[in-house]
Symmetry: C2
Subunit: 462 residues, 2 copies
């Protein structure tokens, strides 16, 4: 029976980070993957979806079929590169197998024909998540897609119905509509991207509608009949549907006989502390499989923190950062920290100062003929601490890092108001919002100080 310093289950963003990090420090690592190296991100997530979005925007000389083929070709190329690189990495044994726990130190590895065992001092669960299934009466499997099968499409569907108006649903609605498909988008909530700020939803809905995507909000599908999808309460009948993309959420991959290791978990995932530690001291869970965050970059960040914790257990690693999110719609939506609604549960309303600055009011917005988009910042009264921020802009993903740094304690609004931005850029809206905060705060100093002192006294943690 082979024995390792660390066994990592799942070769996605989190798992690869841990395996490569520890291997680089000289530890003997088993990296176990039941399917493709790269995880969802490389194979059925960010990489093919961002390639598709890029080509849908820019490759005007390619047909949709050529674009879909190109997406697969690029995806496969990256996967092959990653696989080859991992196989060559010193101290990593890349094992193609399905892993299950036998006890807290032992895994059983199943391949098509054989089973074997493996022990490790540390075991890291980085198995990710899978699309939640949707059972819809009458809907045939042959026309049902999830992110796992979407990028295997060889031809553009004439009419694509997307169920779910979260990040995946929205990104694919833009991409497939731009490729020329008729797209109908069904969302259960009253707005798209309902986990984000309502101002962001409003811009995205306006843009989707301008592109000709048909939106059905506050709606749920009821049944499927002869290529017609019927919504509950007969709200609408979507006809001549060719494919249905189900994007109604993710479920963690937990079929690992976790009980045999004594692990505590729920259907939502494995609960961990801020550096991936589970209730069993030598077992960690990072990425989509834990309850903390479900992004490629948060899995990567959790992996990096875990490498530090395993390799240098006595060094402090600080508290888990507040992760940004990005939606690669048109324009992009980037966000970091809680929404206003969530902040109001934590702080007195008087203490939360909100500043929104529209991009069209910046000079770069003017020279770029922008109509939509904004920078929205929620900050603490008096101290200028940035609590959260949302950017809706063509390159919002490239603008959010400064505010991610701010939200994680790196810069107050007083600092951002004094930072010099190159002229003319859309990022100036950050400075404008920060300056407006400063202008409003200075005359209200006494009132704000009183409210702030009161909250500190009532709730010293914040």
């Amino acid at each position: 029976m082979d024995s390792f310093h660390t066994a990592v289950i799942g070769a996605g963003s989190g798992g690869i980070t841990v395996a490569v990090g520890l291997a680089g420090l000289g530890k003997k690592v088993a990296l176990i993957e039941r399917s493709h190296v790269g995880g969802d991100c490389t194979n059925v997530g960010c990489v093919p979806s961002k390639t598709l979005i890029h080509l849908a925007n820019h490759a005007k000389d390619l047909t949709p079929t050529e674009i879909l083929a190109k997406v697969r070709e690029r995806r496969d190329h990256l996967r092959d590169e990653e696989t080859e690189w991992l196989a060559k990495t010193k101290n990593i044994s890349l094992i193609r197998a399905d892993a299950k726990f036998l006890d807290k130190d032992t895994l059983e590895l199943s391949r098509s024909s054989s089973k074997e065992k493996l022990t490790a001092k540390h075991i890291v669960i980085a198995t990710g998540s899978s699309p939640k299934p949707l059972s819809l009466p009458g809907l045939a499997e042959s026309i049902t897609l999830t992110n796992e099968s979407l990028f295997d499409l060889e031809a553009l569907p004439k009419h694509l119905v997307i169920i779910g108006a979260g990040i995946i649903g929205i990104e694919m609605a833009f991409a497939f509509r731009k490729l020329g498909a008729e797209v109908s988008l069904i969302g259960r909530a009253s707005r798209v991207l309902s986990a984000l700020e309502p101002q962001a939803s409003a811009v995205i809905q306006k843009r989707l509608e301008a592109l000709g995507v048909k939106l059905y909000l506050s709606s749920q599908p009821e049944r499927f009949e002869n290529s017609t999808l019927i919504l509950k309460e007969e709200k609408a009948r979507l006809e001549q549907v060719e494919k249905v993309l189900v994007a109604v959420g993710r479920s963690p991959n937990l079929s690992l006989d976790l009980e045999k290791a004594g692990l505590a978990y729920s259907e939502q995932g494995i609960s961990t502390n801020t550096f991936g530690k589970t209730n069993v001291p030598n077992i960690y869970a990072i990425g989509d499989v834990n309850l903390n965050s479900a992004f490629t970059h948060s899995a990567n960040a959790q992996g990096r923190r875990l490498v530090q914790k395993i390799a240098f257990p006595f060094l402090p690693v600080g508290k888990e950062p507040i992760y940004p999110s990005a939606t690669f719609s048109d324009p992009e939506v980037a966000q970091v920290g809680p929404t206003l609604e969530a902040l109001k549960k934590r702080y007195k309303s008087d203490l939360i100062k909100t500043f929104q600055y529209d991009l069209k009011a910046t000079d770069r917005g003017y020279t770029s003929f922008l109509e939509d988009g904004f920078v929205l910042i929620h900050a603490m009264a008096l101290t200028g601490r940035v609590l959260s921020a949302t950017i809706v802009a063509p390159s919002a993903g490239e603008m959010i890092p400064l505010l991610t740094h701010a939200v994680n304690g790196g810069a107050s609004l007083y600092k951002l108001a004094n930072l010099v931005f190159p002229y003319p850029t859309l990022s100036e809206a950050i400075k404008k919002a920060a300056s407006n905060y400063v202008f409003e705060t200075l005359p209200n100093l006494v009132k704000d100080a009183r409210t702030y002192a009161l909250q500190r006294w009532q709730n010293p943690r914040h």
Copy 2:
């Protein structure tokens, strides 16, 4: 004779900032402008040039003539808005006149028909700069353009020669070539954008050449004969030239009888301390007219600092920040802090650690099919202090603010290595460069500490 708290000469970026700032604090301000409100930026600089660049990239359905007309229309609209807004601003007297000093407190204002005087407690010179003229034998004025006349062009020249390969020359080479003109670019230095890092020049030259711009580097024009421009040493003959854009640098606007106020200055500008103070205690100079920096955003920043200094003379305003620059080429080039060449004059070479990360090595670069572009960071050994940075990327101007914050002391490379960037973005290259710094520094800790201590001992200022 009218008397003011502050007289501001020049209603460009710097002057407007000071006038509006002080007026908002209740001070009586005279804002004197001899030409158009908005200065070079609004009228003959950033605003029309960025509008032109935007339309050259995106307005595929407009003819060049329509695009040039649209640029003027948008420019005029913004100028009218700014003029109207300033005229309505309380406490500001907008005076259309040419100002000259009579003594340190008194200005003479000349209009076409009349002259009058004005006194002020504080006088702010914000007169900006003008394009340096070029005298080229045989070149007729009728075909010579500068940034001041360029945007009055009503039709696209068939063959445009641009003399000068700095920011203006480069931006206009991209824009006019994309509009369809034949463009020849003549640069005196051996590379374009010679004030920036050579790696940036290399990318921009490659892209200019790929677009079909003809580059003549290490070259100077000698004379013009029958629509042919002949380079010195007969390096080349550029034929059938229709227009010549001269962009060989800027000269400060100093025709103000500065001697009568006792002001010290040179042809390069008025020397000031870090908040615009000249050798005469009540007179300030900000923006292009001083020696510190020549960008719209630095003029604006100097204006903000000056408002604080005049209105609250006893509050500290800190030292002048390090300003970023941006070139709106394709891709954009954004930079903050000194080049490596300049850093080497200040620090021992051992102490400067350079990390470059190419965008094509990031996942977003891969999904966007990027071939060029990078993040380049120079940092201090051991401490991780960011000394300077250059970004060449499609939205480099939106990515540089985080590094501007870092260069101004807001974040070390240790911080940037731990910052979580949304996946997949090009900004991840910042994290990668920072992480590479950390990986290299940790094993060299002892060596770096020795070098650093030595420099501190020899030169405690840095």
